[in-house]
């Protein structure tokens, strides 16, 4: 293909080339909005129908872990935005630094997510034949990470929830299916994003991104921010149901 420096033959100017890439990226992101939107719709309907089970399930999540992850992911969006700024202003060394910081924060997110997931496995809160929403309350010695006061509170909540919805154990699995499905798909997007960031990092070592040409940094940035927005919605939807009880 005919190419003059960073400018491909089918474009008149670098600006036009950049605008075209941005437009294409946004169209892709809109398809992603519809993809996550459908899942959130399924979640909303189930939450509306099985409110008690969803509230009970939400209260078994670790709010500390969820809040930390939200702050970590927002911070990674900030470092990503700064990475784009560094590229736009030809600060080549800073591109590498900010991309590295973004990857590190991404992996902090993964680590916290891993701790949360493994806790759910230990607490028998993974949908399937071993799912038991009352497992920790029935076997307190198997859940040493929940202190006595929280355990007593959870016992009361469970009693009230079972009184309101006798089929709570089945319906709570719907909540946990939504939880693992939504956070899992979100994490998958982050894995793809981290892969793209590693590629950018490799390219940034040779100082490829500058004020004239930084399209890949900008586009991966858009993708990373989009994944951040998905989490901005997942956090209140999954972690903050009925916390005031």
């Amino acid at each position: 293909m005919h190419r003059t420096g960073a400018l491909f033959g089918q474009f008149k100017t670098l600006e036009q080339q950049k605008d075209t890439a941005t437009l294409g990226m946004w169209i892709f992101l809109v398809t992603e909005v519809m993809f996550f939107g459908g899942i959130m719709l399924a979640y909303t309907i189930n939450r509306h129908i099985y409110f008690h089970a969803f509230a009970m399930g939400s209260n078994t999540l670790s709010l500390t872990a969820g809040t930390c992850n939200t702050l970590v992911l927002l911070a990674s969006s900030f470092t990503m935005a700064m990475g784009v700024w560094s590229a736009q202003t030809s600060r080549k060394k800073w591109v590498t630094i900010f991309l590295t910081l973004t990857i590190v924060l991404g992996f902090v997110f993964f680590s916290i997510k891993y701790l949360e997931y493994s806790q759910k496995f230990h607490h028998h809160l993974v949908p399937g034949r071993n799912f038991n929403i009352s497992y920790c309350v029935d076997n307190p010695s198997a859940c040493p990470d929940i202190d006595a006061a929280d355990m007593a509170k959870e016992r009361e909540e469970l009693k009230a929830a079972f009184a309101a919805d006798p089929d709570l154990n089945a319906h709570a699995q719907l909540y946990y299916s939504a939880y693992f499905g939504m956070t899992g798909l979100h994490a998958l997007h982050m894995v793809i994003g981290a892969g793209l960031l590693f590629w950018l990092l490799k390219e940034s070592f040779s100082g490829r991104f500058d004020a004239e040409w930084n399209t890949p940094v900008d586009m991966v940035g858009l993708y990373w921010h989009f994944v951040d927005i998905v989490w901005i919605y997942l956090f209140p939807l999954l972690y903050l149901i009925d916390r005031h009880k």
Binding site: L23, I45, F78, A81, L240, H244
Partner: protein, 117 residues
Amino acid sequence: MSDEHAEHVVPPGVYAIIILSLLTLTLLTVAAAFVNMGRFNIVAALGIATLKATLVVLFFMHAKYVPKRTKLVIVAGIFWLALLLFMTMSDYISRVDYRGVRFPMTQNITFSVEQNV
């Protein structure tokens, strides 16, 4: 807007203000979840989430500075999502089943052969 506008570079100061607002709003949404506002808890939670998402889209994703045709794509995407949510939810909420039961999934009805005759 001309196709040949120079690329808009958002200064780091703006990014700093946005990230501080985002972190503050996160703590605010956690605090709000512990206040009993009845059915307005979800309104507050999603309202704050939407405010945060708007800040990310406008500034981190530079949507404030892109050409109008790109803005149209973004707005169309949000509009289509609103259609999906609004139309489906209004169907679910207003549906009446063959026994005249409104929103039958919430009624914990046990089905038997006699009932269906």
